[in-house]
């Protein structure tokens, strides 16, 4: 079973980084969004420093949303989702494998470049560590919750906008606790309560999302 799980992970990561894959595009979007922010709010260092943690988190969230709407759709269109549903691996684990691959291929690179973007955004020194920690703890929840939306809209043509409407309200707790932790760290307060809540959000979505997404996929394959 772990063999087929890893096979799905490897396949999806290879697809994400191949030509036309979404991983590089997500990264490019992230960089562009930061650049545009500097134009939109002006280059004043204090302004950028004030909004940097929230903006970087928001862009990571939007970048993940951008890549998530194709999470199941390509497989649905070419029929390989049917094969995956018939495989001995339970569909919930297939979802988990695909989410893991999405996270590793698309979101981990974003997390790794965030410190460099932090320099561009004049991020306060004390916030760097906590920003990276919250991204590592919180971005899996983005992939997991997004998988529910992607699975629900898999059979909907041009489901991207609909998926945003379904998923963004559910992203609110992630954003609140993540930016809460970074702000606390930047302001010499204790970030641990926020971080613990963020971890709880990730764990709850780890428990709920594979089940919900698998049920939604089974529905559209009927």
């Amino acid at each position: 079973m772990s063999g087929s799980f890893l096979a799905v992970v490897r396949r999806d990561m290879a697809l994400a980084w191949s030509q036309g894959g979404s991983a590089a595009l997500g990264l490019a979007f992230f960089l562009m969004a930061v650049t545009l922010t500097a134009f939109a709010v002006g280059p004043a260092p204090q302004t950028l420093a004030r909004i940097a943690p929230g903006m970087l988190w928001l862009f990571a969230l939007l970048a993940s949303l951008l890549s998530l709407d194709r999470l199941f759709q390509a497989d649905y269109e070419d029929g390989s989702l049917d094969d995956l549903a018939l495989s001995p691996l339970p569909l919930g684990f297939v979802v988990m494998a695909k989410v893991l691959a999405h996270w590793l291929a698309t979101l981990v690179p974003l997390v790794l470049v965030t410190p460099f973007l932090g320099i561009l955004m004049n991020l306060p020194d004390k916030a760097y560590g906590m920003l990276v920690i919250t991204l590592f703890v919180g971005t899996p929840a983005l992939s997991l919750i997004g998988a529910i939306g992607a699975a629900l809209t898999v059979a909907v043509r041009r489901g991207g906008a609909l998926m945003a409407l379904l998923v963004l309200p559910l992203y609110v707790p992630v954003l609140i606790f993540a930016t809460g932790a970074v702000e606390a760290a930047a302001g010499f307060a204790d970030p641990l309560p926020h971080l613990a809540m963020l971890g709880a959000v990730t764990l709850v979505s780890l428990a709920v999302a594979p089940l919900a997404a698998a049920a939604a996929i089974r529905l559209s394959l009927e």
Binding site: I148, V156, V172, L219
Partner: protein
């Protein structure tokens, strides 16, 4: 419960309940509005604007209650495949969205004189806004999928996932201590609101509840008729 899976039998039951719900609503609304708008005392701090409470609080209660009805219907639809459960969810969603919008608008109008601002990003306001988006998402998803049966089940999954927001709304005022006041009616150790204001509040809540039952049953019957019409149209096309 499956006894009422038969639409005709459900329709008969609904027809028996409907007049009761309508009369309870009317009989509660008249004294409720009179007590709320005329007879109850103005607040010692807030003056007359406290009267917004008698609309705002029941609307906010109903926004959460309707979501729980929707989630219960969603659970029933997914687990027992009860044929009317999907219709119930579909019927409840716009009502809930309207109650939520009403709670947000009245709260905003109340906030301007009291807090000096129409809107703050505090926990209660934000989570109720999220609830509004969940209702919209449910309705959009329900409409986006062509097969009505599949659409109903997909929307049901979304409704169940969204239930996590309900405890966040309920406890947001205790977790984030900002502008919105903490729970003052349903709390440990009794209400902090005086009886002269509590009575009209509960009468108004009863009126809202009866209104919900009334409009919900009408919408259920409408959904059943709509489904019937769709089936008839299909069979006509078959000929």
């Amino acid at each position: 419960m499956h006894k009422y899976a038969n639409p005709a039998r459900f329709g008969a039951l609904a027809d028996r309940i409907l007049p009761w719900a309508r009369w309870v609503m009317i009989l509660a609304l008249i004294p409720g509005l009179w007590l709320a708008l005329v007879a109850s005392p103005p607040d010692y701090q807030q003056g007359e604007s406290v009267r917004i409470m008698y609309l705002h609080v029941p609307a906010a209660w109903m926004s959460m209650f309707t979501y729980m009805v929707m989630a219960g219907a969603a659970f029933t639809a997914l687990v027992w495949r009860h044929p009317l459960a999907q219709l119930a969810g579909r019927a409840a969603a716009p009502i809930g969205a309207t109650f939520t919008a009403l709670a947000l608008v009245t709260g905003s109008l109340w906030g301007k004189p009291m807090w000096g601002t129409f809107w703050v990003w505090d926990g209660r306001l934000t989570s109720v806004l999220v609830l509004f988006f969940l209702y919209l998402g449910y309705m959009a998803l329900d409409r986006a999928i062509e097969d009505e049966e599949k659409a109903g089940r997909a929307a049901s999954i979304l409704a169940l996932v969204g239930v996590v927001n309900i405890p966040i709304i309920k406890f947001s005022v205790d977790w984030w201590n900002t502008l919105h006041q903490p729970a003052s009616v349903m709390r440990m150790g009794g209400s902090t609101i005086d009886g002269s204001m509590l009575t009209p509040l509960f009468i108004m809540a009863l009126a809202f509840q009866a209104y919900f039952v009334w409009i919900f049953l009408i919408r259920m019957k409408l959904e059943i008729d709509r489904r019937k019409a769709a089936v008839m149209r299909q069979s006509l096309r078959g000929i």
